[in-house]
Amino acid sequence: MPAVLTALALLVGALVVLGVAAWPLSRSVLGARVVHGGVALAGLLLAAGGLAGLLGGVSSLTLPFGPPWGLARLALDPLSAWFLLPVGLSAACASLFAFGGVHGPVAPRLLVPWPLFLAGMALTILAADGFTLLLGFEAMSLASWALVAHDDAQAANRRAARIYLGFAGFGGLSLILALGVLAGGAGDVAFAVLRDAPPEGWRAAAVLALVIAGAGSKAGIAPLHVWLPLAHPAAPSHVSAVMSGAMTKVALYVLARFVFDLMGPAQPFWLGAPLIALGAASAVIGALRANLEDDTKTLLACSTIENVGLIAIGLGLAMAFRGADLPALAALASGASLLHALNHAVFKTLLFLAAGEVLHGAATRAIDRLGGLIHRMPVTAWAALVGVGAAAALPPLSGFASEWLLLQALLAAWRVGDLPFQIGVAAATALTALAAALAAAAMVRFWGLVFLGRPRTPRAAGAQEAGGAARWALLVPAGLTVAFGLLPGVLLDLAEPALRLMAGAGAPRAGVLSVGAAEGGARYWPVLVALLLAAAVGAALWFVRRRAPGGVARFGAPGHVMRGPAWDCGFIAAPAHLPFGDPASQPSAAGFGQPLRRMLGTSLLAAREAVTMPPPGATGAARLDAGFHDPALVALEGPLPRAREALATQAERLRDLSIRQCLGLTFGAVVLMLALLAVLGGR
C-alpha cells in the first residue's frame, strides 16, 4: 500500500516543519501546546501507519530528492511496520504528558528538538537505503543530545551530555563502517542491492560486530550501556520516556534490520552467540544496578538496560535457531523479542512518566526524599503499579507474556549446535532467570519506597497530583499494558508477517486467548490466569474481611470501613517534632539494596563498604561509606582518556619535525601507498 508509506513520509516532513516552526511558537503557551499536541498526534498516526503496514503488504517509495549520488528510498515492510508501533505509542503518550505539563512559555532548546527527535526515529525505521538510515539515526542522536543537554547549568548534566554525544558519535561511526563492509566495493547502499550480496565468513562477523557496536551503543547493550543511567536523569521526563521506550527500540530495529534482513538468511548459528552473551550480561548488570540506584529515573534507566538485554537475547536466539534451520523456534524467539520490545516501550514510557509526575509533584527524584505518595497521588501510584508489575514480569501483565516466551525459547535452545553453545545457552537461561528476579526486586523497591510507607520529607507529604492530559498520559499506557498482557496472542498474530521476514516462519499458533511455545507444547492463557488471580485475591479479601472482628469492616459494606493507625514496624512512636515520623525508622534506598549489593555487587560492580569508627572514648557517630562503580564507566573515564592523552602527546611531536622530515613523511606515505598498490594489485 504505497498510500500509507506516502502518508508516513509526509508525516516525517510535517514533523520537521513543526520542529522549525517550534522556534517562533515557543514564545507562547499556546504555541508550546500546539507543538506537543502535534507530536502526540504524529505519534498516534505513526502507530496507525504501523498497524496498516502490518495488515497491508510491502511497499516502497523513491523520494524525488536525496544525496548527490542518488535518490533517497523509503520502504514499509512488516518489520519496520512493527517497530512503528512502540515508537508511535511511546511518543504519543510522552507528548501528551508534556502537553499537560505546559504552564508557561517553553524554552526553544527544549521545544525545537522534540519533533525532530520523532522525525529522526521515524525516518530511521522507514529508510530503505543506508544513507537515509544513517541520516535518520544521526538526526535522532543529535536531537536527543540537544534534549539531554538542555539544562547545562549543572556539571552532572554537562558530563552526561558529553558522554552521550561521545556514544552517539561512536555508534554512528560503527554503523557507517558496517554499511561500508556490507556494501563492499560496489558502493551502492540501497537495501535491495545489499540483500542480493549477503556477506560471508569474516565479513559477516565483521558486519555483526560493527552493528552490535553501533546499534548496541544506542540501545544500551553492555558494555556500551553506561550513557543510559547518566543521560536519562538529565533529560526532561517525557524525553527520558521516549529515549527509553522508543529510541532504544529504534536501535534494536537497526540491529534486526541488519542481522535478519540485509545479512541474508544463510548465516551460521554461532553468529547469534555474541548477542546472547552480551544480552545476558546487560540483563544482569542492568537489573542489579536497578536495585542499587537511589534516583528514580536512573533506576528506571538501569531497568531499560535489563530489558534491552532480554530483547537482545531473543534476537540472538532467533539467529541461532535460523542458522540451525529451526524456523519455528526462530519465530518463537523473534516473536518474544518483538513482543517484549512493544511491551517494554509501553510500560517503560508509563514508568518514566510516573517518575516525571512524582518529580513534578514532590520536586525530587531521590527515593530517600519520597515515600507515602499513594495517599497524595493515587492515580499516579496505581498506574505506576501496573507498569511496575509488568516490569517485574507478573502475570497477567504484558511483561510476563513476552518474558515467558523468551524463557521458552531459551529452554528449547539445547537443540542447536554443539556442547559449548549448549552450555552457554544454559548459562544464559540461568542469567535471564536471575535478571528477571532481580528486576522484580528492583521494582518492589522502586514502588514500595516511593509510594508506600510514610513521607520522608515534608515536600513529599505535600505532593500534589496533576490532572488533565498528564493523568491521561499515565492511564493510556497503563490500560495498554493490561490489554497487551491479556491479549498477547492477538499481537503475535499481528506480528506474523514480521516473523516470516525474520525467521522464515510464523509463530506457533495458539489461538487468540493464549500463546504457546510450540504446536502442542506449553501454553499460557493470560485471561484464564487473570481470572484465577482475581478469584484468588477476591477470595482472600473476602476471607480476611469475614474473619475481621465485628464492627471493623464487613465485606460488602464499604461504608463501615474504619482506619487504624499504620503499623510502625515495631518502632517506638516518633517524637512530636517529627510529624511524619522518624525518617530513620524507614528503610532507605541504600538500605533496601544492601543485601544485593553485598551478595552480587562486590564482584560485578566493585561495590565497597567501609566503616569508620570514632576514636575510643569519643562520642561521635560511626560512619558507614558504601558505594559501587560500574566497571564499564570506570574504564571509559580512566584508561580511555589516558590513552587518548598519550596519543595526542605523541602526535604533538610531529610539529617539531624539520622541513626535510616533513617532506620525508609525505614521501614515506606515497611510497607506502604505492607498495600497497603493488602488493594488492598483484593479487
Binding site: L663, A678, G681
Partner: protein, 222 residues
Amino acid sequence: MSFGQLGYDVAHLLGGGVLLLSFVLLYQRRIGAVINAFAMQGALLALAAAWAAHAQGAPALYVTAVLAMAAKGVLIPLALHGIVRRLDLHRTVETALGIGPSLVAGVALVALSILVVLPATEGVRALARENLALALSVVLLGMLMMISRRNAISQVIGLLSLENGLILAAIGVAGMPLVVELSTAALVLMIAVVAGVFAFQIRERFDTLDTGSLEEHRGERR
C-alpha cells in the same frame, strides 16, 4: 609500437636517459656537477618531447620541447650557477642520507614504480606503460633527492627534477592539451624564481644554505 620499431626504441632510450640522469643527480658530490647534470636532464627531456612530437605527429609538443630546452636546459642552470658563484657556496653537497644508501633506495624506488605501473596499466599501449613507469621513477627519485640533501640549492634541483618526471609522463600520453604543459612550465619558472629569492634570503640571514638552520627559528617550539 613495440620493440624493434624505431619510434619505440628512441622514445624508450630518451626516457631511460632521463631516468639515468636522475641517478647521476643522486651521486654527485659537487654542486656545480649537480647543476650540470640537471641541465643535461632538461636537454634530454627536450629531446624526448621533440621525438614524441615527431612520433605522435603532434606539433604542439615541439613547443614543449623548446620550452623545456630553454628553461631547463639553459636558463635555470645558468641562474643556479650564478647563484652559486655570487653566494660563493662551499662547492660540496652536504648529504643527509649518504651517496651509497640513496642509490640503493633509488633502485628500490624504480623497482617499486615498475611493480605498480605495469600491472595497473594493462591493456594500454606499451610505450605509454613503460613511459609511465620511467616517469614515476623520476618523480620518486626527485622526492628522494629533496629529502636526502641539506643544501637549499640541491633541494630546489630535486623539486625541478621531480617536475621533469611529470613532463615526461605528460609527453608520453597522446592528446595531452598544450595548455597543461604551458601552465606547468610557467609554474616551474615561478618555483625557480621563488626558490632563488628564498635561497638569497636564507643566506643573507643565516650565513648558510643548510635548511636545518631554519629549525631553530620556528615558533611554537615546545
